[in-house]
């Protein structure tokens, strides 16, 4: 079977455009069908994907803009295969969640949802740096409208802050990307090319790498967000409507981490080694800072939001351990974190409906009384988030820590405190909302069938991956090793 990546890539956008011209009631189902089709196509792709050592598959490569040396190049390898899968799964969940609610101007809403999926898929599939930048920046446009027009709590202020933060990073990356492509071309005396495969071979002198590295690093750290660049996160997370937040937190934050593995480490190995320690410190601080703040928040969204900061700290730590195990763990962690964040945000939505719309933990409590199924699903997700042994998250965190122990023992030990802290804030979150004395305004009731339609499949995926994390690990091993090999070579020199 031949897989055409362009079909997966533009299918959501096409359904969004079709939906924009259909009657209001119909457009959502068209977009949902599109996301399901993407997921089905992805499953076919995984089935077809070689179990190990396949290299780049299903490559599509054409010249896009000759004069600038930009290609339209797509490809899938072990590194992005499961991130594409994560995108496909979460978009089905988020679109389904959105379908069950009435939106003002629904066609526009679902068009933006579809456009966002295309942009994210494009960023993951792109094998050309310029194309990556295009999709990376394009992602912001639909989210600007989704959060700004359909959000809650000070939405315009929050979304403006969010977009300016992230686009500042993206635009710096644009300058960095142009510089990387052009300078590596002129430096090696060859035609300018932005293909990752070409960039990886034409390494720049260390001095040049150093400044370009930071242009990229800031963009990715803002996107994640990591500790000093997370200023947009609390407002942005509170403003976003839940279906949007599911994909925003679940998938978009991973694009930053993915960028480190795909672009920064292979093309700028010298700078990556040079600044390894700085990035590890950023990661460790993010872990501790995120964990402590997650513990002290009353707003449920921010508990999850700050826990994401901590989890992405783990991912950064794994990547910049510059170690095979660390990178593998980071990749697995990206997938599993995306999978747990989505149901968590959905559960917050369900809980707030039972607490008179309040998302504050102090207004919840005792919600488990008449909702055993909801409590059970929530518990599974909670335990997965705090990386209970047996969950795929545990495997991921363990691999990250092994990687860190191997390369930078001290930071590894500090970071492992984060594992314990995760248990603290997640159990606090679970107890305060589900147990404790019943809140004054709380009306506990079981979740509806519709909620089950969204939640159960996501929890099933979490459980399946916990049973069989090798699904990800086997197929991604060669790719992650390949991406950090240039940096480890430099480090061992």
């Amino acid at each position: 079977m031949t897989i055409h990546l362009s079909i997966i890539l533009f299918l959501p956008l096409a359904t969004g455009l079709i939906g924009a011209f259909l009657p209001r009631g119909l457009s959502r189902w068209v977009v949902l069908a599109g996301t399901i089709a993407v997921l089905a196509y992805w499953i076919a792709m995984v089935a077809d994907f070689p179990r190990s050592g396949g290299g780049l598959q299903y490559v599509t490569q054409d010249m896009w803009i000759d004069e600038l040396g930009i290609s339209y190049a797509l490809g899938v390898d072990g590194l992005n295969l499961f991130l594409i899968g994560l995108t496909a799964v979460l978009w089905v969940g988020a679109t389904l969640a959105a379908c069950f609610r009435e939106w003002d101007r629904p066609r526009l809403f679902f068009f933006h949802m579809a456009l966002a999926e295309t942009a994210v898929l494009g960023a993951f599939m792109a094998q050309d740096l310029a194309l990556f930048v295009v999709f990376f920046d394009l992602m912001l446009v639909p989210f600007y409208f989704l959060i700004g027009a359909w959000g809650e709590y000070r939405r315009v202020y929050s979304v403006t802050k969010l977009v300016i933060y992230t686009l500042a990073g993206s635009l710096l990356m644009l300058a960095g990307a142009v510089a990387l492509g052009v300078l590596s071309g002129t430096n090696s005396g060859q035609e300018i090319s932005f293909l990752f495969s070409d960039l990886q071979q034409r390494t720049l002198p260390e001095g040049t790498q150093n400044w370009i590295f930071w242009l990229f690093a800031i963009a990715f750290l803002v996107k994640m967000p990591a500790f000093p660049f997370h200023g947009w996160m609390p407002d942005g997370y509170r403003a976003a409507p839940i279906p949007v937040l599911i994909v925003f937190s679940g998938v978009l934050s991973k694009v930053g981490a993915y960028g480190f593995l795909r672009i920064v480490l292979p093309t700028m190995p010298d700078a990556s080694v040079k600044f390894q320690e700085v990035l590890i410190i950023v990661a460790v601080v993010s872990i501790l800072y995120g964990s402590i703040l997650a513990f002290s928040q009353d707003n449920a969204r921010l508990v999850v939001g700050y826990s994401s900061v901590a989890q992405l700290g783990f991912i950064t730590l794994g990547i910049f351990a510059l170690d095979d195990k660390g990178a593998q763990g980071a990749l697995l962690q990206m997938v599993t974190h995306g999978l747990v964040v989505a149901p968590l945000f959905y559960i917050i939505w369900v809980l707030s409906q039972r607490a008179r719309g309040s998302e504050l933990l102090s207004n919840m409590g005792g919600l488990a009384v008449r909702a055993p199924v909801l409590a059970g699903l929530f518990l599974v997700v909670t335990l997965a988030t705090l990386a209970m042994p047996g969950s795929a998250n545990f495997v991921g965190e363990l691999l990250v820590l092994f990687g860190a122990f191997d390369s930078k023992l001290v930071y590894g030990i500090v970071a492992s405190a984060g594992v314990a802290l995760a248990a603290v804030y997640m159990i606090r979150f679970y107890q305060r909302s589900m147990h404790y004395r019943t809140g004054l305004e709380v009306a506990s009731r079981e979740m509806s069938l519709r909620d089950g339609l969204v939640l159960v499949p996501l929890v099933v995926v979490i459980l399946a991956l916990s049973v069989y994390p090798q699904l990800v690990l086997d197929r991604s091993e060669d790719a992650t090793k390949g991406k950090i090999a240039p940096a480890t070579e430099v480090a061992n020199r």
């Binding site: 803009i65 000759d66 004069e67 600038l68 003002d104 101007r105 526009l108 310029a130 930048v133 295009v134 999709f135 920046d137 394009l138 912001l140 446009v141 600007y144 409208f145 700004g148 027009a149 939405r155 315009v156 979304v159 403006t160 977009v163 300016i164 686009l167 500042a168 635009l171 710096l172 644009l174 300058a175 142009v178 510089a179 052009v182 300078l183 002129t186």
Partner: protein, 511 residues
């Protein structure tokens, strides 16, 4: 006596490459005459003839389009190469847009249609000549031919004070710019002994050198004079006032066409005539570009009036364009022309929407006039959104490709820091471009929005301002078409790139 005369030979003139200039001159005269026709015929006739003229000029320019060095016409006064033809095409397309945007404008009832369009055409003529000038004297004549009709056009809403103020302000500031330019031209002539660009270039390369004080002062004054016209900071101060006061179609014309012509001559003068001294003038222009980017984008942040906002934004954009001039390479030439074309598209889209709104909304050109536009008239809101996102440099719009091209150029020309300045400017610019988008789409609505009543208002005595204001299909047409082109060239920019490469080849002897 007769034999004597026979021996005076006029210069050889190749008429074919001059045909665009001849066409526009003829058109201007015919339109002026048509304006004298009695009755209401001229109301339709003058704009139609203007459109025909501009269309013809574009056709002739495409006919004359020939990549590569073209040599000079009329004893070295003018040239008709791809650089000048590209500017011609941009200017004429802007002219067509201006005619459509002013079709039902109140201006035409205050001044005669014939005069209005004839002045527009003569300004177009000046811009075409300016981009093709190969001689300092022609340059100055063209510069004035461009400016003087614009002074009048700015003041053409004769019953509105801001318009008159705008015209007067532009006249005074523009004259200072012209005088500075002329002074600089005189110095350069003094230093090199020639008014021909090619001879100036030879003189700099051989005996005079850029270090000559006369030459230095001359170049500095010329740069200042042109900077006035291109609204490059710190000579931009007239821009917001004049843009705001002028009739909006004329503002759109000034924002795009004047800038295209000014950057056309910037490129030819600096890259061609002064090209051998690039290392000397480039740092100065780079500094100007940096100041312009910062000043323009910061200035726009606090604007409420859309016309002022776009004026400040055009200052910032001039800074980006100047970055392409700074590197002084073939690539710089290409990138600047590419960005000029793209800049024209997105600005016309934005101005068209402003015009459509100010005709029907009591807030005029205030940003409030755009409130909830996404709900009430999405066909105007989308073009504006696309224009704003493109100006800010979002991908999938032509503005992104243009910025990419400019940054690419600066990096290759060893001015990577200027590329970073472009990026920083874009980051600042998000503050105001996104505000416009936010007003249109993100406004909270907790009340019923009354959709504008669509009704046909009968014309009374041949003209009803209300009917004109409501029925504005041509304005929406311009907005949608330019916005669609912005998206099209953002996804498939190759036709524009081909044209840009042709333009780059026009000064091939230099590189």
């Amino acid at each position: 006596m007769i034999t004597l005369l026979a021996e005076v030979k006029g210069p050889y003139i190749d008429w074919a490459p001059l045909s665009p200039d001849l066409a526009v001159t003829t058109g201007a005269v015919v339109v002026l005459m048509a304006g004298l026709l009695p009755g209401r015929t001229h109301r339709m006739l003058a704009p139609l003839l203007t459109l025909v003229t501009l269309g013809t000029v574009i056709g002739l320019a495409i006919w004359q389009w020939e990549p590569g060095d073209q040599g000079t016409l009329v004893s070295g006064a003018l040239t008709s190469d791809t650089l000048s033809l590209a500017v011609t095409i941009i200017v004429c397309l802007t002219g067509i847009a201006t005619v459509l945007l002013s079709w039902r404008s109140v201006v035409l009832h205050e001044v005669g249609g014939g005069e209005f369009y004839a002045l527009l055409l003569s300004s177009v003529m000046g811009m075409m000549m300016l981009a093709g000038a190969e001689n300092l004297v022609v340059l100055f004549v063209a510069f004035e031919l461009l400016s003087i009709p614009l002074y009048v056009l700015c003041a053409s809403r004769v019953r509105r004070e801001p318009s008159l103020e705008s015209g007067l302000k532009y006249l005074i500031v523009g004259s200072v710019g012209s005088a500075t330019l002329l002074y600089g031209l005189a110095f350069v002539y003094g230093a090199t002994g020639s008014t021909d660009f090619s001879k100036i270039s030879d003189a700099i390369a051989s005996e005079v050198g850029i270090g000559d004080p006369l030459m230095l002062i001359g170049v500095a004054f010329i740069a200042t004079g042109l900077a006035f016209k291109a609204s490059v900071a710190p000579f931009h101060t007239w821009t917001p006032d004049v843009y705001q006061g002028a009739p909006t179609p004329i503002t759109a014309f000034m924002a795009v066409a004047t800038k295209a012509a000014a950057f056309g001559v910037f490129l030819r003068l600096f890259v061609d005539a002064l090209g051998s001294a690039q290392t000397n003038w480039a740092p100065a222009l780079a500094a100007l570009a940096t100041i312009t980017i910062i000043v323009g984008n910061v200035g726009a942040l606090a604007q409420r009036s859309m016309k002022r906002l776009l004026a400040w934004s055009s200052v910032g954009q001039a800074g980006y364009l100047l970055a392409g001039v700074v590197v002084g390479t073939e690539l710089g030439l290409q990138a600047t022309m590419f960005y000029l074309a793209v800049y024209g598209l997105m600005n016309i889209a934005a101005f068209a929407v402003v015009i459509a709104r100010e005709r029907v909304h009591e807030a005029g050109d205030d940003i409030d006039a755009l409130e909830h536009l996404g709900r009430t008239s999405p066909w105007l809101a989308w073009p504006m959104t696309i224009a704003m996102l493109s100006l800010a440099g979002f991908p999938a719009t032509a503005g992104f490709i243009g910025k990419f091209y400019l940054i690419d150029t600066t990096v290759q020309g060893d001015y990577a820091w200027l590329g970073v300045m472009i990026v920083i400017g874009s980051i600042i610019s998000l503050g105001y471009y996104l505000r416009v988008v936010a007003v249109m789409w993100l406004g909270a609505v907790d009340y019923e929005i009354v959709a504008p009543v669509r009704r046909r208002v009968a014309r009374v005595g041949g003209w009803s301002p209300e009917a004109d204001a409501r029925a504005q299909p041509e304005v929406a047409f311009v907005a949608i078409l330019t916005a669609a082109a912005t998206i099209f060239f953002g996804i498939y920019p190759n036709p524009l790139f081909d044209a840009a490469v042709d333009v780059g080849s026009s000064l091939a002897h230099l590189f």
